[in-house]
Amino acid sequence: MSNSAKAEAVLALHRFGMGPRPGSIAAIGTDPRGALIAELDRPLTLTAAANLPSSAKAYRTVADANARRTARAKQAQQQAKKQQMAAAPVMSEDQAQTQGQTQGQGQEKDAAEMAAKQAADAIPDPGRPIYLQEAKLRTEAALAADIGFAERLVWFWSNHFCISANRIQSMSGAYEREAVRANALGRFVDLLLAAEGHPAMLFYLDNLESMGANSTAGINRSRGLNENIAREIMELHTLGVRTGYTQDDVISFANVLTGWTLVPPGADPEHGGQFIFNPRLHEPGGQTVLGKRYEQEDAEQGRAVLRDLAAHPATATHVATKLARHFVLDVPPPALVEQMAKTFRDTEGDLKQVAIAMVSSDEAWRAPPSKLKRPGEWVVGMARATGITIVDPVRFTGGQELLGEPLWRPSAPKGYPDDEASWIDGVGRRLDVANNFAERITGMADPQVIIEDLFASEIAPEVKQAVGRAESRQQALALLFMSADFQRR
């Protein structure tokens, strides 16, 4: 392989993949663009996913445990109260009034609450082990991929259609598998329908109990419409902010989506946690969204709006811009964005074709490596460089958290940002993580081998020199992992 081909292979691994790992340069061969495209034809199958619960099953498991916790807590609380009453001295009304009645009651309440909490804590939360297994599966997929372009696309779309495990931990990993991974190389409209109709998203964006004012349930109750999901779908998932939709569009669309909810877990041990359209919550009648009338009577109404949003030209531009910003440059070249948006429009949102359009464009390769890898990419990159294939999910998710990108826990529906300014101040923390990681793996990784074999020596001479002069192998590895060549792409 010529030096320029090697350089392009290394760039392909950093910019579009999960970073170099043993054998990846050879796997790419002389045609990096072709290799990236070829990987999209054979994305990884996660065989271990067969052992993991579906989102509905995971949700039921956690709901069951919660129900048992509540029952146990209630029981304990009642018992504690009974004991206190039996032990309390009998006071006259006057005495009680003069001796600080409220204080005494407060103490009783505290003791009962503590008893309740202890009883509840005795039943462990099954959500965390599920989350950790899912984290392990996802991370090991990133380590196993030859290049990792398809995995990077899964990560991108997962962040675009993010939910938060802080609110719905049980489903967080299964959501990604069921809604995102299954559609990341398909058509955008299918991805959109899968994501917005997924119980995890409906839970996260507060749609479960959203009801139309004139729905059967709405007439009888004081509760009503929740606009959250309708707004975020238009602002974040499809059209993009300030693209012409109005507050009325948001309200109409929110009405359209009333009734999109899930089967209550307690009510149905087999289907609890699955998507269901509940007509009792649904606002009857037609709605106008973005000037178009939707007269459908059920979930089809929402699907029709989503299909039109997916086909909207603003969505093509929004999605193309975000993709190019993530992979290529914080301020992506307009020509590249337009090329990708055009492909999106021409192929009715075929996401694989959009990805191919990106890596086929010279613009995507010509940009200087100025993107700062997000913490997740960077950590996976270190593990890949070391040849690690098995992940301790506690350690890995802990590291992600320290670096400010806890897995599946963005602080807002916008997901994690993709620009250098958001992440660069965290570089100091990366040094601690790199130093610690280097200490752990110093026996199994040779920095010179990483530079020569994995990076095909395509690394700044200053880095080679710093690595060569390091006082220990640990320091050499830490410097290598912290180098701009390793953190930027």
Partner: protein, 416 residues
């Protein structure tokens, strides 16, 4: 805690006979004398500047060699006098106290047989006990342990040797079972690593350099020791400062001592401390090296107190792969050299002296006109300790523990 190399069959045989365990973990001959010796080896990775740690203040060429970077008895931070000729770095009051009490010795102008200047190879020779690098994957301390059991039998519980850190130091690796303990605290990136990274960024990525510089500034403002960074929301990842290094050294060394002190615990241990490669702004009297030596001194105090009664039967050997240039370089630091010091502390020592066949500091007296010339072979010291403290036979020391060292006689009289 991970324990490797189980020998289940023999373990099954011995289940329930805990007294036998306790005996079998003791070095064989020492036990016959009713002793129960402990040995802890601390490797200072990066090459310690022996002259910055123990200064030859009585040498007429000392001041001209190091100039205003020379440790002196009447400086701003005065060195601590050891004898008429040597003085100790002021960051090490504990070591000074131990020395005055006869429980510490210092060997100066010492080196392994390695005469090149690569850290990795130098550490390999230091820890493998062989004359050349890259020849074995076992360390001299592990082989010494093997030799203590007749017929090479090893303890079935696998707990005779202790390694501290997530990577077992080579010196204690080998076929004798090793248990390892990993400190819970994240080892902070050393000041040296940060300086190197900053230098790298300044040449390759100015934006990253700015960020790193800001962080280093914040760390240097510091807080009280142990309190870390008030601006950080995460107590486990404070910005690296000397307080964290001190805490790490003390925790790691103190834990090693606790295990070694246990009646049924391991009897030898090894650990490594990084950060001694002081090319830039060495700061023997008040900077980098001063801080690191202070942290090491704190580790000594932690060992002494955690050893409890076992301190009387303890020797701690502190060694490094090589020394540094005798002269200060162009960046107020020192480069890779040859001769350096070794610290020996412990209740079992016959200390209170600096052992040195002093080579002098005139240009012609320096090794290759740049380094302190080594006049004592580190293996002589280590062989002396292994022979007189653990009772490893001299023949075994020359053949198996330090192969090819028959002409390096064990140094006598170190323990008493």
């Amino acid at each position: 805690m991970g324990v490797v190399n189980h020998l289940p069959t023999r373990r099954e045989l011995l289940v329930g006979s805990s007294a036998l365990f306790a005996w079998s973990q003791m070095p064989r001959i020492a036990r016959a004398e009713g002793r129960d010796p402990r040995l802890l080896v601390i490797v200072l990775r990066g090459a310690l500047d022996g002259l910055g740690a123990v200064a030859p203040v009585g040498d007429p060429d000392w001041l001209s060699l190091r100039g205003d970077r020379a440790l002196v008895l009447d400086g701003k931070t005065p060195a601590l006098p050891l004898d008429a000729f040597f003085a100790l770095n002021p960051a090490m009051p504990n070591l000074h106290r131990l020395y005055k009490g006869g429980k510490a010795a210092i060997v100066h102008a010492i080196a392994t047989p390695y005469r090149e200047r690569s850290h990795f190879d130098g550490q390999d020779v230091l820890e493998s006990g062989l004359v050349k690098p890259g020849m074995t994957s076992s360390g001299w301390l592990n082989r010494a342990l093997l030799a203590l059991e007749s017929g090479g039998r090893v303890d079935p519980r696998g707990s005779r040797a202790l390694g501290i850190g997530s990577v077992t130091p080579l010196v204690v690796r080998g076929s004798a079972p090793v248990m390892t303990w990993v400190p819970q605290k994240l080892l902070p990136a050393s000041e040296d690593t940060q300086n190197r990274l900053l230098d790298l960024y300044q040449h390759t990525d100015p934006k990253l350099a700015t960020v790193l510089q800001a962080r280093m500034k914040l760390a240097s403002l510091g807080g009280a020791p142990g309190t870390g960074d008030a601006m950080s929301d995460d107590p486990t990842l404070m910005p690296p400062g000397i307080a964290r290094v001190r805490a790490y050294f003390a925790e790691a060394a103190g834990t090693a001592a606790r295990y070694l002190a246990k009646p049924d615990g391991p009897r030898v241990g090894a650990m490594g401390f990084v950060g001694w490669d002081t090319h830039i702004a060495e700061g023997a009297a008040s900077g980098q090296l001063y801080n690191l030596l202070g942290a090491l001194d704190g580790a000594f105090a932690a060992i002494e107190s955690n050893m409890g009664a076992a301190w009387q039967e303890t020797v701690v050997a502190v060694v490094t792969e090589f020394g540094r240039t005798a002269r200060i370089n162009g960046t107020q630091g020192t480069d890779h050299g040859t001769g350096t010091v070794a610290f020996l502390i412990g209740g079992a020592l016959t200390g209170g002296r600096v052992i040195a066949d002093w080579p002098g500091l005139k240009p012609a007296q320096l090794f290759e006109d740049r380094d302190l010339k080594p006049t004592t072979d580190l293996r002589a010291v280590l062989k002396g300790l292994l022979r007189d403290h653990l009772r490893v036979e001299e023949r075994v020391l020359a053949d198996a523990v330090f192969p090819g060292s028959a002409d390096v006689k064990p140094m006598g009289g170190l323990v008493g």
